[in-house]
Structure formats: structure tokens, C-alpha cells
């Protein structure tokens, strides 16, 4: 809830210190909502099949390799 720590001015990156100002909490809130909307929009998008296919192939390759190391090599 308390976002004061996030809004504290920092001087860690010495240049351009006038950017280290405290934003209005309502503005911060608005930006926070937009950030989540942007991110969640992609998170909720359908995942292309190619990723699942890739992982299934990697797994199958590993299982074959594990099998080959216990069985006789062909």
C-alpha cells in the first residue's frame, strides 16, 4: 500500500537529478494501471504452439539420450 519508498528521490545516478521528483500518487496510480494493462494484455494472449512443440522436442531428445546411455548404443 505504502509506496513512499518507491517515490523517494534518489541521487544514485547523479546526472539529471531534477527527474528525481515525487510524482503525484494519482499519476503514479494511473501509470501503474496502464503498465499492468499493457503487460497483462500480452500475458493473456494465446501462446504460440511452437514453444510447446520446442519443449516437447527437447524433452524427447533428453529422454532418448538417457535411454541410449543405459541401453546399448545403436
Amino acid at each position: 500500500m505504502n509506496r513512499v519508498d518507491a517515490a523517494m528521490p534518489e541521487t544514485g545516478e547523479g546526472d539529471n537529478d531534477d527527474f528525481d521528483m515525487v510524482l503525484d500518487p494519482k499519476v503514479q496510480e494511473s501509470i501503474g494501471r496502464s503498465l499492468k494493462a499493457h503487460y497483462d494484455d500480452i500475458v493473456n494472449a494465446p501462446v504460440p504452439d511452437k514453444f510447446l512443440v520446442l519443449l516437447a522436442q527437447l524433452e524427447a531428445t533428453e529422454q532418448r539420450a538417457a535411454g541410449a546411455s543405459t541401453d546399448e548404443r545403436n
Binding site: 534518489e10 544514485g12 503525484d24 494519482k26 503514479q28 501509470i31 503498465l35 519443449l55 527437447l58 533428453e62
Partner: protein, 201 residues
């Protein structure tokens, strides 16, 4: 007593371990895509980046410490891959095709569509060191500590970058026009004053 003296790990993972790791990767794919798109500004590049990340993660799965955050570990791989291989390509793709902000279909409702497109254009204009940390702490659920570790900088630097990113976004989006935030004119007016100071600096 130290971690290195615990039971020796077999070099071959068991099938069950491999399956757990694979399930973890599958669960993180949507987050990896969203982070990659935020970094590269392109959904097509993002998916290439995610594919590279999954391949590297699989090949280095023995380096992942169970019990630690898989998301943070994967983001570190993705981010390193982006900066070493994709950054330049990202700029080229954006130059020729525009950013995803201009092309991407959104899955939200129609009303929020325009706002989201505007926000993405503004987000794409942030310096990438600010954009990446703003996304990490503002949208992914990663902590400041995790973001600091992923970026290899101090927590204070993360906080500073987040603060600058928010201020810059507010400026780019012109939040502070008197009616932009609804009826609370006091805060809007305060922001307008801040905004004009930024522009004037």
C-alpha cells in the same frame, strides 16, 4: 555443511525433474513474451527472444537452483540475450515496421484499446534501462531486490530508474492536463506544474 557438500547431484536429471522444470518453463512463457515485447518493442522479436531463452534455459537447467525464483532466473537469461544479440535488430525492426504499439492487436476491451496504444508508444520512448525496470517492478511481480539482481545494479539505482521512468511517462502522456485524471483537479494541477518544470529543464 556448505551447499557444495550436500549430496552430489547426478549429472543426468531424472525424468520427473525434467518434467517439473519443463512445466515451470511452460508456466513462464506468457511472462517471458510480455517482458520480451516490452524490451524489444516487437512481438515478432519477442517470440524469437523467448525461443532463444527457452533453449538456453533448457541447456543450463543444472544451473537453476530449485527453490529460487524461476521467473527471475529466466528474465536474467532473456535480458542478457536481448542485450547481446537483439538490441540492434530491435531498432531495425522498429524502423522498418513500427513498434508493436502501432501494430499489435489488443485482447482487451475496445474502450481501453486507444489508451493502451498511446501508453505503449510512450513506453517505447523510454530509455531501455528505465523501461525494463519499470516493467519488472511495476508489472511482473518481481521485487526491487530481484530487479537489482537481474540488472546487476544496486537497489537504489533501480528505485531511481523507476522514479525517472514514471516521471518521463507522465510527461510523454501529458498526464496533468486538467481533466486527464478526472475530477481531482488539485493533483492534476500539481502534476501540470511538475510537467512544465520538466519540459522547461
Amino acid at each position: 555443511m556448505s551447499a557444495t557438500e550436500t549430496a552430489p547431484r547426478t549429472t543426468e536429471r531424472t525424468e520427473a525433474q525434467a518434467k517439473d522444470f519443463k512445466d515451470g518453463l511452460i508456466r513462464e512463457i506468457p511472462n517471458l513474451r510480455a517482458f520480451a515485447a516490452s524490451l524489444s518493442g516487437s512481438m515478432q522479436l519477442a517470440d524469437d527472444l523467448v525461443q532463444d531463452t527457452l533453449l538456453k534455459a533448457w541447456g543450463n537447467s543444472d544451473k537453476f537452483e530449485p527453490g529460487t525464483s524461476l521467473r527471475a532466473w529466466l528474465f536474467t537469461i532473456l535480458r542478457n540475450t536481448y542485450y547481446s544479440l537483439y538490441r540492434k535488430r530491435g531498432r531495425e525492426v522498429q524502423d522498418s515496421e513500427g513498434t508493436y504499439a502501432e501494430r499489435m492487436a489488443t485482447h482487451g476491451n475496445q474502450e481501453s484499446h486507444l489508451d493502451l496504444a498511446d501508453f505503449r508508444k510512450a513506453l517505447a520512448k523510454l530509455p531501455e534501462e528505465q523501461r525494463e525496470v519499470l516493467i519488472m517492478v511495476g508489472a511482473t511481480g518481481l521485487s526491487y531486490e530481484e530487479a537489482a539482481e537481474i540488472c546487476g545494479v544496486a537497489i537504489g539505482t533501480i528505485k531511481s530508474r523507476v522514479n525517472r521512468a514514471r516521471t518521463k511517462l507522465a510527461e510523454l502522456l501529458s498526464i496533468g492536463g486538467v481533466d486527464d485524471l478526472g475530477p481531482d483537479r488539485t493533483s492534476a494541477a500539481a502534476m501540470q506544474r511538475v510537467g512544465s518544470e520538466i519540459i522547461g529543464s
